[in-house]
Amino acid sequence: MSRTIFFEVEILDSRTKEQLCFLEKVDPHSTIGDIKSLFHKSYPKWYPSRQSLKLDPKGKALRDEDVLQSLPVGTTATMYFRDLGPQLGWTMVFLAEYIGPLLIYLLFYFRMPYIYTHKYAFTASPHPVVSLACVCHSFHYIKRLIETIFVHRFSHGTMPLRTIARNCVYYWGFSAWLAYYINHPLYTPPSYGEMQVNYSLAAFVLCEAGNFSIHLTLNNLRGEGPRSRRFPSPTKNPFTWLFFFVSCPNYTYEVGAWVSLSIMTQCVPVALFAFLGFIQMTIWAKGKHKTYTREFKDYPNLRMPILPFIL
């Protein structure tokens, strides 16, 4: 066994530069994750997912997988610590974000008192499309909850509490706003009647099935390990054939589902929600697309991030 040179790790506060911790006899093969665990021992309230360690206070945070001896440091490493604030695991994050819209919409559907004028409390809307919209909206979020619990395997551990609060306000608030109009006593059903409702319902179902298929495909890809070296490709499932044309068909289908729902209900707030979601998902899709094209030299040229041939 060769003689290993042990490292020393000095951890300073990123802002005040005071020394928070000095670790001696650190194995050079230890990862940043190991160092975070050691740091956690001295400061129990800063659990590892809350820690951000950097070699330069203004630089990028080190990843948990980075190995100490591969970093550009001498045998005494100086790292700068920043508290990222309370963190929540991804599963809890999504549960919080999705249960809200599911339940809030139902409050409006069943016309809880004080939402609409008194005489409408606990009444039902005479329009079938309103009940259909409730089923679709609820199905969408129940599906998401099921996927969160049983399907998705998350890479990064956590999300900061503040971000979760902000996301919840957005999702919960928006679902309340669109539910208010769809379930309103003065709701006007779609201009083209049953035809409009039926076609958009079909489109909605197809998009939900598509979205689910993509999630399953991505999940199987992950089966090989935390960072697998394969990009997603079309399978026997026809819904996954969208992979020929886009990098993130799950987002494509998601946008499709919401656009279908807005046509089905002919409701501007739903269309607005679809539009804002489209903008956000396009940003994410572009990022993902860039990552794929950088990482894989043989990445198909035909693929666009989110909309076939367009975007």
């Binding site: 109009y181 309103h184 003065l186």
Partner: protein, 244 residues
């Protein structure tokens, strides 16, 4: 195995960020200088217009009408600044700049222009005066900065005058929106009611009230940010004078 690959991408990133930080090219700088000079001149026109109208009438009342057109033109022209950030020739945040410009444009068009009855209010003069002085200083500050020849007086003015002008402007804006409320409610301006085939409603009166309320969290944040900036920018000179 991943470390060398990481190293090269890091180097590429730092090169790219270096290029961005170098600032606008020669053509962009020339354009920006022209833009800022034109804006400075425009707000000077408004300032002169206000002074002349006051001297001619002998009162502060109803001065808005004498500068209505240049105010609309030059304040709306500021929308270009959002484009400048988006394109990258100005190193500011698109969102922040967008927010600031849109709030000005909102007050100019959606409140003052749209609700004729408030145009004779004195609160309009309050915010117009605040905007005018602020913008003259701000645009000349940018002009001189771009030419790398910033007189200390302009820098000092930019980071000092706001202490009075900002609260003054906010007061004028809030009073104007408040004055507009009864007329908006009476006429249902910019409002849509149910039922309609798009299943959407908008009450402009409530929207204006929400806007007024939003000043409460926003104004202190922006004000203290400017105070901190002042300390950072002007503070150094005080330190040097202490050393001497």
């Amino acid at each position: 195995m991943s470390a060398p690959a990481m190293g090269t991408t890091r180097a590429a990133h730092s090169d790219a960020s270096h290029k961005k930080k170098k600032g606008p090219g020669a053509l962009a700088t020339a354009y920006l200088v022209i833009y800022n000079v034109v804006m400075t001149a425009g707000w000077l026109v408004i300032a002169v217009g206000l002074v002349r109208a006051y001297l001619a009438r002998g009162s502060y009342h109803g001065l808005y009408y004498s500068i209505e057109k240049p105010l609309k033109f030059f304040q709306t022209g500021a929308l270009l600044e959002i484009l400048h950030c988006a394109v990258g020739i100005v190193p500011s945040s698109v969102v922040l700049t967008g927010f600031q410009v849109m709030s000005r444009v909102f007050l100019t068009w959606a409140v003052t222009h749209s609700v004729r009855e408030v145009q004779s209010e004195d609160s309009v003069l309050l915010f117009v005066a605040a905007w005018t002085i602020t913008e003259i200083i701000r645009y000349s500050f940018y002009t001189f900065s771009l030419l790398n020849h910033l007189p200390y007086l302009i820098k000092w003015a930019r980071y000092t005058f706001f202490i009075v002008l900002y609260p003054m402007g906010v007061t004028g804006e809030l009073l104007t929106i408040y004055a507009a409320l009864p007329y908006v409610q009476k006429t249902g301006l910019y409002s849509i009611t149910l039922p309609n085939k798009y299943n959407f409603s908008f009450d402009y009166h409530s929207f204006l009230m929400l806007t007024m309320i939003s000043y409460i969290p926003l104004f202190p944040q922006l004000y203290f940010h400017m105070l901190r900036q002042r300390k950072k920018v002007l503070g150094h000179v005080e330190d040097y004078s202490k050393v001497e």
